[in-house]
Amino acid sequence: MTDSIQRARQGDPDAFRELYEGHVGRIYALCLRLAGDAALAEELTQDTFVRAWERLSSFRGDSAFGTWLFRIAVNVALAERRGRGRREARVALAADPDLLPSAARAEHHGDRMDLEQAIAGLPPGARAVFLLYDVEGYQHNEIAELTGIAEGTSKTQLFRARRLLREALTR
């Protein structure tokens, strides 16, 4: 366990800030893609770190801190979606390329931008599974554990996501 983690566990906010600075890009990227909305991604990123601070005492170092934090981010993002019922609103937003995350617009070009847009246009469940499996490299059993869906549902959603993306990118 790194010195920053140990100090943060003891309640040192400066140490936690070091952890924030080291991981915020990764967490924001995930939240941005899961939410399909830059403002919401900022909220989710903040909530993730606040949640991590509150749970730091439960971090035992069995996995890397980044992995632990990533799991919290997934949970925060999925809980927000379930809790606030923003599903339809987000899909509607994501379907309009002009409303896609500005950070993503600034960062990506050409084919990569097309893919970002296409991912943002996926239904939320399919989007989450695609991101976790094909972008982040999780396996279906891990996604099932992480998101609370059945392993078979994860496979089905991945199949659906890939088909929808292929259609969107070859239009």
């Binding site: 915020v24 960062e107 990569r112």
Partner: protein, 209 residues
């Protein structure tokens, strides 16, 4: 093997998850079917592209102040759910409570005047006041740029509420300066900062939608 059957196996074929016999059958079909080769190429390109997406994207603004604002004091975290509560009511209530505590503190001062609290009595682990101020400065700047997008009535309500909260912050700071060890006052100051931050965040979000 038909094209429909191949299509169902395509993902597992590319990921090399098929049994050898089935994989061999799929390969045979692929060798003779141009349409399925196109589909296979599309999926392969998609999967390769997915691995090239940046895993790290920096947020457009510094999110730390908003996070730090919720880390201290830990026990005040439960106030975060009030984010969407009517802010005017919250600010007014805050001022009322601040005034009450200030009065209580003033009375307390007369008792402890001969023996000031030791500096170690208020273990502030980092400068939350400054963190809050930095956070609100960023948002105030952003909001000023976007003010033209807001209806005049909205601007008026916003400014009225900000003035109320600013008054609460100023009052809390003054009281805290006189009684640095007072944890209640410190919590009130942070609460007022948090109210301001949330109001500003909410207002800037309105200009984005």
């Amino acid at each position: 093997m038909t094209c429909d059957q191949f299509d169902l196996l395509l993902d597992d074929y590319l990921e090399q998850k098929l049994d050898p016999d089935v994989a061999s059958e799929a390969a045979s079909h692929l060798a003779t079917c141009a349409a399925c080769r196109v589909r296979t190429g599309e999926l392969r390109a998609l999967l390769e592209a997915a691995t090239t997406l940046p895993r790290d994207i920096q947020p457009p603004r510094n999110l730390w102040p908003g996070i730090a604002a919720q880390l201290a004091p830990r026990s005040s975290r439960t106030l975060a759910w009030t984010r969407w509560a009517p802010l005017a009511v919250a600010a007014t209530a805050l001022i009322a409570v601040t005034a009450l505590l200030t009065a209580r503190m003033t009375r307390h001062d007369t008792v402890v005047a001969t023996g000031p609290a030791p500096a170690t009595a208020h273990p502030v682990t980092f400068d939350a006041d400054r963190e809050y101020a930095l956070a609100t400065e960023d948002l105030e700047r952003l909001l000023a740029e976007r003010r033209a997008q807001m209806a005049p009535a909205t601007v008026a309500v916003l400014e009225r509420n900000l003035a109320l909260i600013d008054a609460a912050i100023a009052e809390s700071r003054t009281a805290l300066a006189a009684d640095p060890a007072n944890a209640d006052l410190r919590a009130l100051l942070w609460g007022a900062h948090r109210q301001k931050l949330e109001l500003l965040e909410r207002a800037t979000r309105l200009t984005r939608s």
